[in-house]
């Protein structure tokens, strides 16, 4: 993934919403990222510190919540948490007809401002 560009996008979204709400400072940015997005947290934090310098988000916390990959099995009706290589194999019954319930999300959920 492209952590520098993604971090910039996150920052742009946060600053846009902060400005709309006439904030003087961003204290925290909450991001939700599904496990299928495969983010490298360390890189995100590194680039975040670098990019926020001199902006209203300087010193803010970037909090990334990783959402597990969950499938719903159409054969047995069970929801399961799986790895990306197990998506099409229900852990309960082995069925391959599944719906991906979570794991593909990637959005800025909220920001804390003052």
């Amino acid at each position: 993934m492209h952590e520098l560009g993604l971090t910039q996008s996150i920052l742009d979204i946060a600053i846009e919403h902060a400005n709309r709400n006439k904030a003087s400072k961003i204290l925290k940015i909450n991001v939700r990222a599904g496990r299928m997005i495969a983010l490298v947290d360390e890189s995100m934090q590194f680039f975040f510190k670098y990019l926020t310098g001199g902006t209203i988000a300087e010193g803010a916390d970037l909090v990334i919540e990783h959402i597990p990959i969950r499938i719903y099995c159409l054969a047995c009706g069970v929801n399961s948490e799986v790895s990306e290589f197990e998506i099409y194999s229900c852990p309960k019954c082995g069925g391959s007809e599944v719906e991906i319930v979570s794991g593909r999300e990637f959005f800025v959920d909220s920001i804390e401002i003052e």
């Binding site: 996008s9 919403h17 998506i87 909220s110």
Partner: protein, 217 residues
């Protein structure tokens, strides 16, 4: 104070990709986003496809490389209209690059647009271009374990071309082992073994392509 945002981080590229897709649909164009490692045979695949389709369909090609016009010149030398995108450093194509490139074509006159992405098994899969289908090429010398190492690109494609099957006897590449790996990620993918050099296996690919071209018209 907490402010709810709920904004998709990849929205910028997704929105442009949707705009591209609408433009292609309105003009009845079937668009392929062709992805693979460098040297796996993307350009050869495009040329062989054009040769097999003959004059039945009007084809255009967008070539993506970091630098050089080698590929687009090769395509043009075979009488196929082509535009070269040089990313200057980006390791993948993005929707805004395609949006600019298609200005060079008369879209009403095109049936098939093949986009040869930058040679890379990692990044291209993260960026929708507005394509109708994603086709990945894996060549025999690369080995049959690549889906385990690069899951994303193998998960999100409609067709997996296994190129250079004429070289199978020269390595321990196994199509059966490859299928086990890919079907875990992508149970509905269409796996087509072929050789751009000898032409074997091309009938299956052309049949799939023509079915989709007719549907798009």
């Amino acid at each position: 104070m907490d402010i709810k945002v709920l904004q998709n981080i990849l929205a910028a590229n997704e929105n442009l990709a949707r705009e591209n897709a609408k433009l292609f649909k309105d003009n009845g164009i079937f668009v392929i986003n062709l992805m693979a490692s460098p040297g796996s045979g993307k350009t050869s695949f495009i040329l062989k496809t054009a040769e097999r389709l003959g004059n039945k369909y009007n084809m255009a090609v967008i070539e993506g490389d970091i630098a050089s016009k080698i590929d687009s010149e090769k395509i043009k030398a075979h009488g196929i209209q082509s535009v070269q995108i040089n990313t200057g450093g980006a390791c993948h194509l993005e929707a805004n690059m395609i949006k600019k490139a298609i200005n060079h074509f008369d879209l009403e006159a095109i049936n098939l647009l093949m986009i040869e992405n930058v040679g890379n098994l990692v990044c291209p899969s993260d960026f929708n271009l507005g394509e109708s289908a994603r086709v990945v090429i894996l060549s025999v010398p690369e080995g049959d374990d690549k889906p385990y190492k690069y899951p994303s690109i193998f998960r999100d494609c409609s067709v997996l071309i296994v190129n250079k099957v004429d070289m199978i006897g020269l390595s321990d590449f196994s199509i059966d082992r490859l299928k086990v790996a890919v079907y875990k990620l992508n149970p509905d993918v269409n796996i087509i073994p072929l050789s751009c050099r000898t032409g074997e296996g091309f009938d299956v690919w052309i049949a799939w392509l023509e079915e989709n071209l007719e549907y798009c018209r």
